[in-house]
């Protein structure tokens, strides 16, 4: 689960990690008011769940009321896209107004779990303020990754190593230690899946400050993180994804024309690959998940149908606890409710009661092709190009 930069910074404040003086504003008047009280110069930052804001003007140093007004008019209430948003649009509802910081050095620091060493890892680089993947590919030697032992937490010798890797003078060690220890506490206490500060700066008063802040949370741990749940901004998420998620259906909207309904995440990805391999594009990822019943299946179909781009719906099911006849009836419920012309259906069913399921569907009034296996799905899809 993602949150906004300003929310991440509030968490930093709670954990005594220094951030620039800043105020979150919902409208132009608020921004102007803050602008006047702060200084001649402020930084304005659109608050959206998307990276790469700076490159498209979403982060700006402004020096006049005129510039403040222009920025607010350009972004507030509007859709926002970056190179990282893959054609999705995010509404800008809030703008963070921050005092300008004097920057003496820019570093990068992140905490995340690496499944390969079964640990939380600290990743640091003295090349802050850049795209970290670019740093990783161009200057791999300027990235240091240290696993944190679950028994001890970040150790002093690791922090000394980081301090020197970031080319900080020794006097910064105590500050850095506090930051790293507190970031780790935050990471564990709130069940984060990523904390990233890029850049972490040294200002000219000798302070280390988190100039940016990104936190994502482990969705699987939200059940025990009430305060984190409260940080969720549904305006930044896809409505259909939210609704299906409540039923335990994992749906992710994509940009293609072939909707798909699959049980199991691996098979759903494989099915998307099959669609791609046929020269078409998947309109979504969809894993019905465990314990599916008629209602859930029907809602999954409705979610796929709600996407205007969908021209073909591909169903790929392995019947287990979920019986294929039950699934078939569920699909028909949704199709019957659908008030437009139903798209073509390609159906592959295996396992419990699959013959019955196919029979029920073949008797319906919809345009259905049946496939026995993934290769047959491919062949049918190719005819739909």
């Amino acid at each position: 689960m993602k949150i906004h930069e300003y929310q991440a910074k509030e968490l930093f404040k709670d954990y005594e990690i220094k951030i620039p003086e800043g105020y979150i504003c919902k409208n132009k008047d608020e921004i102007l008011k803050i602008y006047k009280t702060l200084n001649d110069e402020v930084v304005l930052k659109v608050q959206v769940h998307a990276g790469g804001r700076g490159k498209v003007g979403g982060v700006k140093l402004v020096k006049s009321e005129q510039e403040v007004i222009e920025f607010a008019d350009r972004f507030l209430g509007k859709g926002f896209q970056t190179a990282q948003t893959e054609n999705e649009e995010f509404i800008v509802n809030k703008i963070l107004v921050e005092k300008v910081s004097q920057i003496n050095s820019e570093s990068y620091i992140a905490l995340l779990v690496d499944g390969s060493n079964q640990s939380v890892n600290i990743i640091v680089s003295p090349e802050g303020g850049m795209d970290i993947e670019e740093v990783a590919s161009q200057y791999p030697e300027s990235i240091l990754t240290l696993p944190i032992n679950i028994i001890t937490g970040p150790t002093d010798f690791q922090i000394r190593k980081i301090n020197s890797f970031l080319r900080y003078e020794q006097i910064y060690y105590v500050q850095l230690r506090k930051i790293i220890r507190n970031l780790y506490k935050l990471y564990l206490n709130k069940d984060c899946s990523l904390i990233e500060i890029n850049p972490l700066i040294q200002n000219n008063s000798g302070e280390i400050i988190a100039l940016d802040a990104k936190i994502t949370f482990d969705e699987d741990a939200l059940f025990r993180q009430n305060s984190v749940q409260g940080l969720r901004d549904l305006s930044q998420e896809n409505l259909v994804e939210i609704q299906t998620a409540k039923l335990g259906i994992k749906y992710i909207q994509l940009q293609g024309t072939v909707g798909c309904i699959v049980n199991g995440a691996g098979l759903a990805m494989a099915t998307m690959d099959v669609i791609n391999g046929s020269g078409l594009k998947p309109a979504n990822f969809l894993d019905i998940g465990g314990g599916a019943d008629e209602h859930k299946v029907s809602e999954a179909m409705s979610a796929v149908l709600s996407d205007q781009n969908v021209e073909v719906v591909l169903i790929n099911l392995f019947g287990g606890i979920l019986r294929c006849d039950v699934a078939a009836r569920g699909f028909l419920v949704a199709l019957d409710k659908y008030n437009k012309k139903a798209p073509e259906l390609i159906i592959r069913m295996l396992g419990t009661n699959s013959d019955e399921g196919k029979k029920i569907l073949s008797k319906s009034r919809y345009n259905i092709s049946f496939a026995e296996n993934l290769n047959e799905i491919s062949e049918i899809l190719i005819t739909k190009r």
Binding site: V113, D191, G266, L267, M272
Partner: protein, 293 residues
Amino acid sequence: MALRIDSNTKVIVQGITGKEGGFHALKCEEYGTQIVAGVTPGKGGQLFNNSIPVFNSVYEAKDKTDADTSLIFVPAPFAPDAILESIDSGIETVICITEGVPVNEMIKIYKVAKDHGVTLIGPNCPGVINPLEKCKIGIMPGDIFMPGNVGVVSRSGTLTYEAVDQLSKRGIGQSLCIGIGGDPVVGTSFIDVLDYFISDDLTEYIVFIGEIGGIKEQEAAEFLKSINNTKPIAALIVGASAPKGKRMGHAGAVISGEYGKAESKINSLKDAGCHIIPHPGKIAEIVEKIINF
């Protein structure tokens, strides 16, 4: 990795009184597995399905039935404790089906399992099946499997079934199929399973099914190179068409960097001598070609 999944394996089911736990306990038994007990705290003393005794704790269940393996279905908030209880009770193999266990809990549990020398498979996995010995400890549909000499390993359940379905339909049987689970931190890695398959005499061919996200497939490839493996491996990576930054169902299947992409994984595996399966529909076709080579 120590792993004994055969006709002598004695299994307890933690969460047997739940809907899924009960359903699959019976399906496993039907397949041939020795399900010797169930565990649900507070429900000890019952008989599940008029035949399987239910205990309040794993200790008690193990004490009374001499079980060596546990199959876990309890809900995610309680699954970590269920795993720990099994480990503490002296269970040798723990297979956790439960989905949605917080990663921070798994970091701890992974370590405790290693400390105790316990083989933990999962969480968020379909389990393990040995068609030769008619022992199924998991949720896979038993009827698609057939005895044979191909070992199958995957992060995913239904994708394992897909592979096995293709194999069995061509008459290619399986020695052992293991779903390691789709979470970032799981008890048993690809490397553990590959290592097991490579030294297992009953396994002559291996099907390896990876996914986007993380670097586990690359590590497996490195491992294969490091041991100069010669056992034939057919490898499939799914998720090439998935966009960056989105969690494709599995918590581990998020492309966050170059390494997470399908292409990087395919190149590594090719480099390690694996036969790359170019399309999810061609798993068995490639295996057949290797066998007939």
